[in-house]
Amino acid sequence: MAERTLLDRLPVVHQLRQSVGLQRGMLVAGLIMTLVFLLCAALAPWIAPYSYSQLRGADGVNFGAQQPPSADHLLGTTVGGFDVFSRVVWGSQTALLVVVIAVLLSVFIGILLGLVSGYLGGWVDRVLVVIADAIYAFPTLLLAIVVAIAISGGQSDLWSGVMAAAVSITVVFIPQYFRVVRAEVVRVKSEAFVESAKVIGASTGRIMFRHVLRNATRTLPLVVTLNASEAISTLAALGFLGFGIEPTKAAEWGFDLNRSISDVAAGIWWTSIPPGLAIVFTVLGVTLIGESLNDLADPRLRARRRAAKSRTPADAVAATVPTAREELGEVQ
């Protein structure tokens, strides 16, 4: 393998060069969609014509409720009299905020617990594993609902709403990081370099954080991307069930969809389709990145140019087997 430059070692850039064909297409599409989402969140005040809580224009006239799309309101107005387009744009900011907080919190806590539990073992480890497994098996949304109640008790201004959603998502995700990191730590801790560190008298804390942790995080970027997309869905689902953030405090796509249920029966499409498409677009973008990274990390799923061209079975075997063996490092 050629020497890897610094640029090459950045997580996504490396995978981008590694990918071919459809997988590259999916990765690029995902990156572009995520970029659009990030730009939308960052530039919301300039993109959106109105504020998310604005009910009347500069001339002091009310927007009116359920107005069809027009030049003034590109996507019409909601049942509450808000501008749909503006709320969709502002919604990206709320989503980004929640995802970043949720992922940071759950990565931090999950890694810490996984590291301690995996390295130290004993009854703490066993108890944590049983708890993590129980939470892992439970429908994430239901747990998120319960946590949201516990945190906000129904209060819903921007920060308590965002924090409630973020923390509920965190609680649901911690077991996933915990399991991934713990499994890696258990594998790494029996390696020779850990033993040598012990022999030269390094403290437990130093071994854990300097030697084990650095070698146990290789699958994390993948889990993070997959979780980020799940976080957006969970936030929207919470909002849809009425745990949203008050419309005057922030814009949230799931909440807007909840308000549009009755509009749909009346044939009003512009209140439900735009926020829904925004969710699909964002989740799709992040999922495409996560999926591509996942496939590229697994040699069995990575597309190979050579194998595809071979025609006879013997060629196929000759073409795939050695590379596969090499990449897998002779598994099994």
Partner: protein
């Protein structure tokens, strides 16, 4: 299996009998161990939910606070025993759950157990329909994608699977409703049945599963009505899950596709489709069954959203209703019930997996 052995004729060679009895015993022990492992799962979830919901205070203040004067509120709290130490209440709650008593809802004074049975059947019906849709759509398409790997049908199917996954079930439901119910007028907008059918089916002696009840009446119009109402919710929830199944089947079949025995079959001239169906699919079945089991549990989360979207009167829409009313006794009961269902599903999946693959047992 064990029963057969007990009744086995005495003239069997003793060694063979002992050997077969041993293998039967290990399966029995496996089942027992798995069954006992359900208990900590349910226990942990019930405990977690109990303490999380109490973080906000007692249920009576949450449900009725602001609507009753302070002295009456305090009286109600004392009456229900919510002024006692939390640990006493917790132990009492555990004891109640153990005897199948989930408490009484605060807002409309109904036994939670009754709510669970009445609305649980509706949710069960929805999840079964959705599962059927998901299996019929997801598994064959996953096999096709694996067989035609990296060619255009695979590309289309994979993008479709990710699209299904990325679409929130409630948004898919709203779009389906808009297109098929409002614009095209083919299907009813919401509910489990028309008012007339609903009255006919709710006479009290039914199973609560509308399709069975409608068939029992023998009235074709009722059956048609019930099926028409079920199509959109079932397809919505089913397709979201089908995306997951498709991806899962594809990944696992491709995994076994590279195994030497598949290459051996291919070199004998077995066609690609037969290769997937007969050779690569079977070994891939174990992880698929395990994940399908987990998905059934997760579908309950999706069912909550689907039911809210379609006003399908099941456990999920009741949960939303009680959440809005801040009736945390009811919420706690429904969530505890779901925890039990989840644990039971996982238990069944483990047993089926062990039954198919003897290597799983230990």
């Amino acid at each position: 299996m064990t029963i057969d052995l007990a009744a086995a004729p005495v003239d069997q060679p003793p060694a063979a009998l002992a050997a077969s009895r041993k293998s039967g015993g290990s399966f029995g022990r496996y089942v027992l161990v798995r069954f006992l492992l359900m208990i900590p799962t349910v226990f942990i979830l019930v405990t977690l939910v109990f303490f999380l919901l109490r973080l906000t205070g007692d249920p009576i203040t949450a449900a009725l606070g602001g609507r009753l004067p302070a002295d009456q509120l305090a009286e109600r709290i004392a009456e229900a025993g919510y002024d006692r130490p939390i640990i006493v209440q917790y132990l009492e709650y555990l004891g109640q759950i153990f005897t199948g008593n989930f408490g009484t809802t605060l807002t409309d004074n109904r036994p939670v157990g009754e709510v669970l049975i009445t609305y649980g059947t509706a949710t069960f019906e929805l999840v079964v329909y959705a599962l059927v849709v998901a299996l019929i759509v997801g598994i064959p398409l996953g096999m096709v994608a694996a067989a035609l790997r990296d060619r255009w049908p695979d590309a289309v199917l994979r993008v479709a699977a990710i699209l299904f996954y990325a679409t929130p079930v409630f948004f898919a439901g709203l779009v389906g409703k808009l297109v098929f119910s409002v614009w095209l007028g083919w299907l009813p907008v919401s509910g489990r049945a028309d008012a007339r059918t609903g009255i006919a089916l709710n006479r009290g002696d039914g199973t609560g599963i509308y399709l069975i009840d409608a068939l029992a009446t023998g009235n074709g119009a009722y059956v048609q009505d019930v099926i028409e109402h079920a199509v959109l919710p079932a397809v919505t929830l089913g397709l979201v899950t089908a995306g997951i199944f498709l991806r899962l089947v594809r990944t696992n079949v491709i995994g076994t596709y590279n195994m030497p025995f598949v290459d051996a079959a291919r070199s004998r001239g077995v066609g690609e489709f037969r290769l997937v169906r007969k050779h690569a699919y079977r070994p891939a079945l174990i992880p698929i069954i395990t994940v399908i089991g987990m998905q059934i549990a997760l579908m309950l989360g999706g069912a909550v959203l689907t039911e809210t979207t379609f006003e399908w009167n099941g456990l999920g829409s009741q949960l939303t209703h009680y959440l809005a009313a801040r009736d945390y006794v009811a919420v706690q009961g429904i969530v505890a019930m779901i925890a039990i269902i989840v644990a039971a599903t996982n238990f069944l999946v483990d047993i089926i997996a062990a039954f198919i693959d003897p290597r799983v047992r230990y």
